[in-house]
């Protein structure tokens, strides 16, 4: 299973490095989101600074949708699932591989977004350890849920609208906990973040486990 996971993750990341869609499209999208939030919430940097954590994570959530869609789009056109199914790879391994690739791309994205948030909103980047921990744990959870729902949506004509509808409500706790953890970190109150980080870890572990089990049956269908 792990061998297959590494195989799939490697393939996905190699495709990304070669095509640079993440860099060229998802990255700018995330920056655009930050800019639009800035426009929406007004030029007062105090408001933006206090909201940075939340805005950061909303941008991450939206970018996850794009990253997941992309993850399935790179499989051979419409026969995405057939290709994966017939490849003979362990479905759990495919899940872990794809989710890892998505997570890796998101983490790179988040690094950029962190800089963006510091620049655009004037967020004070203290508590780096907390910020990073939240990013890792949160992203793993997001990638797991996204990859899982992604395979459900990938075969369908309504995938662009169905995936967000399925994905966003389920990851609401991640948004909540990650934002709170970041708030604590940014305010220099690292201690307050501990519980929220626990929530993120539990969520990630839970959905990675569910994904490993449920991915196979979902891949077979349709």
């Amino acid at each position: 299973m792990l061998r297959d996971a590494v195989l799939v993750a490697g393939k996905d990341l190699r495709i990304e490095i070669r095509s640079r869609v993440g860099l060229n499209q998802i990255g700018p999208f995330a920056i655009a989101v930050l800019l639009l939030f800035g426009l929406a919430l007004g030029p007062d940097r105090r408001v933006l600074a206090s909201a940075s954590a939340g805005l950061f994570w909303v941008a991450v959530l939206l970018s996850t949708l794009l990253a997941v869609q992309r993850s399935y789009a790179i499989e051979s056109a419409d026969a995405a699932r057939d290709g994966l199914r017939l490849s003979g790879l362990d479905p759990a391994g495919i899940f872990l591989g794809k989710a890892s690739a998505v997570a890796a791309q998101l983490l790179v994205l988040e690094a950029g977004l962190t800089v963006g948030v510091a620049l655009l909103y004037g967020a004070h980047l203290s508590g780096a350890l907390v910020l990073i921990a939240a990013c890792v744990a949160g992203t793993l959870g997001l990638a797991a849920v996204g990859t899982l729902y992604g395979v459900v949506a990938s075969g369908l004509r309504t995938r662009e609208t169905l995936l967000p509808l399925l994905f966003l409500p389920v990851v609401a706790p991640v948004l909540l906990a990650a934002t709170k953890a970041w708030d604590a970190g940014l305010a220099g109150r690292q201690g307050h973040a501990a519980g929220w980080l626990d929530v993120l870890v539990v969520f990630a572990v839970l959905y990675i486990a569910i994904g490993t089990v449920a991915f196979g049956p979902l891949l077979e269908d349709g």
Partner: protein
């Protein structure tokens, strides 16, 4: 093919009509008691009357979701796999989404005069709002066309994924909220309200009556689903028959 005949012959079984009647009577009694017989609360006056409706709505919303999830589980488990569990899940979800919406609306209507806002980020209300969207996603997924078993399995898995999320959502929001002192629906004052005899029993009656309403709606929704599935199969057979008739005529 005797199946349509069998289903058609079971139009309005007696038990169903009795259920409907009892549910109707129960609701009517709750309304009468709630609006006229029970006294106004010492803190919130007449607004307490909405609290004979709102908690039952919330209870049914979560009950319906629980049943939909349970049915999904039973469908996925190979030993208990049966079509009727998938249909049960779908029926419960559709009825559940109605009650969830009503929970939000009734909570909002109660909240406006009580707190001065149409919405507060109360843990229960917020979880219910998220539950609402989860339901809608599930129903949207069910509507995606496909072969019965395929659709059923993928919907069942989606239901489980979402269900596991609900407690996480609730505890996250509750903790999130505890960091800021703010009004909640289930605060100590509200609990004290129900202690007085008639109010307590009216609330209990409300819970029971609306649960019966849910049951009645669910059974009918299930039957509708069954008929629709039969229609699909019949539709195919009709098309084949007509094609055959054309072939013979032409």
């Amino acid at each position: 093919m005797s199946t349509p005949a069998r289903v058609l012959a079971q139009d309005r079984p007696a038990a169903l009509r009795v259920l409907g009647a009892i549910a109707l009577v129960g609701v009517a009694a709750t309304v009468w008691l709630g609006l006229f017989v029970t006294p106004p609360d010492q803190f919130m006056g007449n607004l307490v009357r909405l609290l004979y409706i709102h908690p039952p709505m919330a209870w049914v919303a979560f009950l319906a979701y629980g049943i939909a999830t349970l049915a999904s589980l039973l469908y996925l488990w190979p030993r208990t796999r049966a079509e009727h569990f998938d249909r049960l899940a779908g029926a419960s979800a559709e009825v559940g989404v109605v009650f969830t919406g009503l929970t939000l609306v009734s909570g909002s209507i109660w909240g406006r005069p009580t707190w001065g806002a149409w919405w507060v980020w109360d843990p229960l209300l917020t979880t219910t709002a998220l539950l609402f969207v989860l339901y809608l996603g599930y129903l949207a997924l069910r509507r995606v066309p496909g072969e019965f078993h395929v659709r059923a399995r993928r919907s069942a898995i989606a239901a489980l994924i979402a269900f596991i999320d609900v407690p996480i959502v609730y505890f996250s929001v509750e903790w999130w909220r505890s960091l800021h002192q703010a009004p909640t629906v289930l605060n100590p004052t509200t609990h004290k309200t129900y202690v007085h005899g008639s109010m307590f029993w009216t609330l209990m009656l409300g819970f029971v009556s609306f649960t019966l309403v849910y049951a009645w709606l669910m059974v009918h929704r299930y039957r509708l689903a069954r008929l629709q599935d039969l229609e699909e199969t019949e539709g195919l057979e009709v098309a084949i028959e007509e094609r055959r008739a054309e072939g013979e005529a032409g």
